[in-house]
């Protein structure tokens, strides 16, 4: 389960990285500047949520390691 999850996170990260050249520089600015830069807020809120979820998952992984060692 955990391994699958890690793989999903990794693939989605790689996917996002591969997307970046698609709106390099000018395209990216146009994309984020429209409708009063509201998309910047969406991205920032998304980053905060994803960051906290990743931290929670890493705490869960530490607990799982403890459980495995015990048995």
């Amino acid at each position: 389960m955990m391994k699958n999850l890690n793989r999903t996170i990794l693939t989605s990260l790689l996917f996002m990285l591969s997307m970046t050249p698609a709106f390099a520089q000018d395209g990216m600015e146009e994309y984020f500047y429209e409708s009063g830069k509201i998309k910047v807020v969406v991205v920032v809120a998304f980053v905060v949520m994803v960051g906290l979820i990743i931290y929670a998952l890493s705490l869960g992984r530490r607990l799982k390691k403890l459980e495995e060692k015990k048995s």
Binding site: E29, I38, V40, V48, G51, Y55, A56, L66, K69
Partner: protein, 352 residues
């Protein structure tokens, strides 16, 4: 952690997530299409944001101010939609200076202001030139309920205040907890460092570091679309980066010292210095250096005037929610550390 604190934390975070996006923006002036003015008729379009030009076509007025002393009335040629009005202004040969400003009045939006650099050619400048044929008055926005203030370049991204700034408040709160427990580690009466307090200090600093990383990333994204670069030479930014690296060094130091007593003593001392450095770099230094962050220069006693009351109604619950969330994470982190230390001890006992 108390159940009520958890409920308050979740309620505050849901409130933040909803209302940081829900509340509307107050209308504002976005830009004017004019590049350069010459004596005679000049045609340009005035663009507003969240404005009601079409709805209030009857009461629309546009003015060009010169040097904030003389005002020239512009004729409305056409209003294409709620945000665009095409106007034309007649400028005489003699002006006070080439500092142009633009105002749009209507009954709903009040006075919208645009300050854009517009060139000029063919004028003679005589200081103090006035224009008596045009008068304007500053209008208040019709009361439309609740709205975030309009800021020229920031516009909607003012909502980031509810996401980016609480990260730093949370980090600060956690580092204060860490600092206090580092002091208590060293001030144990029996002379040996208290490993219980050391564990609390490490857990709290670890969670604080996560919020520091999130603050750096969100700040970098916001800077890219406001100041134009992922990283700028703002004293606050560089200070935050140094603080981040110092706390990373704290954990490297901890992990490289296997002996528990020694580790707790060295890392507690390091942490006390790290905290002092953080206060200096994030709270003191930005007040003495020129920076891009608002509300940082000058006397902190006056900075309460910087934050609009509509922003406060979401900002304070956001800070409370994230600080409680940070405390919650710290408590979980501490419990995991207790278990890890216990297991390590058991492991040692089995070996010996």
């Amino acid at each position: 952690m108390n159940l009520w604190l958890k409920i308050i934390c979740i309620a505050c975070l849901i409130y933040t997530a909803v209302f940081s996006f829900w509340h509307p923006m107050a209308p504002g002036g976005l830009e004017v299409s004019a590049k350069s003015f010459h004596p005679g008729r000049n045609e340009f379009s005035f663009t507003g944001y969240g404005s009601h030009f079409l709805q209030e076509k009857q009461s629309m007025q546009v003015f060009v101010t010169v040097d904030s002393s003389a005002v020239y009335c512009a004729d409305i040629l056409s209003v294409t939609d709620e945000a665009h009005a095409i106007v034309s202004v007649f400028l005489p040969d003699t002006l006070s200076s080439n500092q142009f400003g633009f105002l749009a009045n209507n009954n709903i939006d009040g006075t919208l202001l645009v300050e854009a650099p517009v060139g000029s050619e063919g004028f003679t400048f005589i200081e103090g030139t006035k224009n008596d044929s045009c008068h304007y008055e500053v209008k208040q926005e019709e009361h439309m309920g609740f709205g975030y203030p309009f800021q020229p370049i920031i516009i909607e991204s003012i909502r980031n205040l509810m996401w980016h700034v609480p990260m730093w408040f949370t980090m600060f709160a956690l580092m204060i907890i860490s600092f206090i427990f580092s002091l208590r580690t060293l001030s144990n009466k029996s002379g040996t460092p208290d490993l219980n307090f050391d564990r609390k200090a490490a857990a709290s600093a670890g969670t604080g570091l996560v919020f520091c990383i999130l603050g750096l990333i969100t700040g970098s994204i916001w800077a890219r679309f406001t100041w134009g670069a992922w990283w700028t030479n703002d004293p606050q930014l560089n200070g935050a980066m140094v603080v981040f690296m110092v706390y990373v060094a704290y954990f490297i130091l901890r992990n490289s010292t296997p002996d528990h007593d020694k580790r707790s003593r060295i890392s507690a001392i390091f942490n006390i210095f790290a905290f002092a450095l953080m206060v200096v770099l994030l709270m003191v230094m930005p007040r003495f250096a020129e920076g891009l962050h608002p509300g940082k220069s000058g006397n902190p006693a006056f900075s309460k005037y910087d934050l609009d009351s509509s922003l406060r109604t979401v900002f304070y619950p956001a800070v409370l929610g994230f600080v409680l969330l940070g405390y919650w994470f710290y408590k979980i982190n501490e419990k995991i550390r207790i278990l890890e230390d216990q297991q390590e001890e058991n492991h040692h006992d089995e070996k010996s």
